[in-house]
Amino acid sequence: MASLNTFGAIMSHAIKLEARLGDWYGSIGEGGKARAADKRRRKLERARRENVLEITLEPIRGLDAADYALELDDGTAPCQAAAAEVAARFYADVAPKINVRAAQRALERCGKEHAALASGATG
């Protein structure tokens, strides 16, 4: 798995994560969660486009995509919670590494939404 060592690598991983989750939620009949994932994906694409300024090009260290592998075996509640936990942990780890506040905020918001899903606070 790839190292998450650049702004683009992190944002692209997040975008792919949301796309994968969106497809999965759709396949297990969780339309609302699928739409929310798609919305997050589009927000992240915009954040990647609009915040890639010079200062974000500093190397980023200590993150590896392998640590955030999703296990999307079935649609049971524990499996959904586990996926949301992985996603929430990913966002919690990567957001502090991003040195542009707008992009950092986008990642933090995604993390909060996944944390809420993991705790069953929202559906």
């Binding site: 790839a2 190292s3 998450l4 060592n5 650049t6 702004f7 683009g8 690598a9 692209s12 990647r48 486009r49 609009e50 890639v52 300024l53 010079e54 200062i55 974000t56 090009l57 500093e58 190397p59 260290r61």
Partner: protein, 483 residues
């Protein structure tokens, strides 16, 4: 057989006159991407006549309508953002993030052009004499051209084109023949924008077309970005032909690192400044001057962090530094590293001979760090335009400023410090057009002029910001009395 790209003239794609063409390669894979025609003076003449003929109608198009075109243009660029950045990577060799950053900066220039209706407004005064009013109006000045470099093939054209045409001028772009594909896509978008025929024109090629633009009597002004020797030629040729000209040249940008700076954080920032775009940019950090005790710390921390940079193909998101533009650039850069060794400098991290697995034919030069560089040697004085950072030592702040001001270039200079007095004195005393304080790449945003002094700029009005409004307009003074 690869395709030969076309010119865009008078609202349509046309073949250039038969001539030699220039091969365009992906510098990482060596894949032949296209051929760029070497347009002739006759091709330029057709484009200039189209631009001249379009001028009267375009200048009388309401400025709000002209600005509205820029709103639509921005939307188109945003929609194709990833496609554009991918093409920039493929023809230039930079990383994906760097390409995205370039497109973003281009969008900022389109944003700026939307402000033209405000920025073109002028002033006036009633009763300058009894019953006499005096006002100033800004008018577009005619046909403008830009000759742009390979290193930012999408962004640099947008420093000029959006503002020029929104001010009511018509425009001809001649991009670098090494990287013509980003501008080809730029003009595909402009074609979709459905501007009146002749407002924007693209002429591909090298010296013959550039010379023809500079000598054509119907071209009002020329913008140029490139090396200093060429910028000087452009400036002299254009002024000899009675044209406005803004010619941005090369650089040797210094960074002073004070003992009170946060060395680890400073080095992270300096890394991007020195090795971003593989050092192929006029704002690249070329020499870091360690002041006093900072020198040894700087050298150690740079060596540690430089060695960790991942060099590779730009389309791989994990790549932190891409290729240089061509094998000839690689040879030149590697030769300069060797010469610096001959002069007694220490090559701490040597990027020569780098191979990247899977891309063995690519034009790779790894990030290079050279220490103990002395004043008046090659690495202290000549632009490398590659991923090479030199280290010099200064005993104190004043010596660092002296070293920086000895350079014949004056594009950018930065200081890393936590001392406000040093920051202030640096801003005040260093002779460079763009100053960074705890910023390695002092890149002005689109609403500020892109500075440059000494051999880094030839002309009066810079690109971007209010300077660009001045450059692209003619002021007319109207004195009125109605009896």
């Amino acid at each position: 057989m690869s395709r030969t790209i076309q010119n865009y003239v008078n609202g349509g794609w046309v073949d250039a006159s038969p001539s030699d063409s220039i091969a365009v390669h992906d510098p990482a894979t060596c894949q032949l991407l296209a051929h760029c025609p070497d347009s002739t003076a006759a091709d330029v003449d057709v484009a200039v006549r189209a631009a001249r003929d379009a001028f009267d109608e375009w200048r009388s198009t309401p400025v709000l309508v002209r600005a509205q075109f820029m709103h639509h243009f921005k939307v188109m660029v945003e929609e194709r953002f990833e496609d554009i950045s991918q093409i920039v990577v493929r023809e230039h060799g930079k990383t994906r993030d760097e390409a995205r950053g370039e497109v973003r900066r281009g969008v900022e220039s389109i944003d700026f052009a939307m402000s033209v209706p405000v920025l073109m407004r002028s002033d006036g005064l009633e009763d300058i004499s009894s019953g006499i009013d005096e006002t100033t109006v800004r008018q577009p000045a005619g046909v403008f051209a830009a000759i742009t470099p390979f290193n930012f093939p999408f962004m640099v054209p947008l420093w000029f084109l959006p503002t020029a045409i929104t001010c009511g001028n018509t425009f001809i772009l001649k991009p670098s023949p090494q990287t013509p594909l980003s501008t080809e896509l730029l003009f595909e978008l402009l074609d979709e924008l459905d501007l009146p025929e002749g407002v924007v024109n693209l002429v591909n090629g090298g010296v013959p077309s550039a010379t023809a633009l500079m000598e054509h009597p119907d071209v009002t002004g020329v913008s140029f970005v490139g090396s200093s020797p060429v910028a000087k030629i452009i400036y002299e040729t254009c002024t000899r032909n009675g044209k406005r000209v803004q010619a941005q040249g090369g650089a040797k940008n210094y960074i002073a690192v004070m003992p009170d700076a946060n060395i680890e954080a400073s080095v992270s920032n300096i890394l991007g400044a020195a090795y971003g775009c593989a050092g192929q940019r006029c704002l690249a950090a070329a020499v870091a001057v360690g002041v006093g005790d900072a020198y040894d710390q700087l050298k150690d921390e740079l060596a540690r962090q430089v060695s960790g940079l991942k060099v590779g193909y730009g389309l791989d998101e994990t790549t932190q530094m891409g290729t240089v533009i061509s094998d000839s650039a690689k040879e030149r850069i590697e030769s300069m590293i060797g010469q610096s060794q001959d002069e007694g400098a220490e090559v701490v991290v040597d990027g020569r001979g780098l191979q990247v697995a899977g891309y063995e034919q690519g034009s790779w030069v790894g990030p290079t760090l050279i220490a103990d560089v002395q004043p008046n040697t090659l690495m202290a004085t000549e632009e490398v335009f590659g991923p090479v950072l030199s280290l010099m030592k200064a005993e104190d702040f004043d010596e660092a400023v002296d070293i920086i001001n000895q350079s014949r270039f004056g594009n950018a200079a930065s200081i890393f410090t936590s001392n406000g007095r040093h920051a202030r004195e640096f801003k005040y005393n260093v002779n460079a057009g763009n100053i960074g304080v705890n910023i390695g790449v002092a890149a002005p945003s689109a609403s500020f002029p892109f500075g440059g002094q000494k051999d880094s700029f030839f002309g009066d009005l810079h690109g971007q910001g209010m300077d660009s409004i001045e450059f692209y307009t003619e002021r007319k003074i109207v004195i009125e009395r109605w009896v």
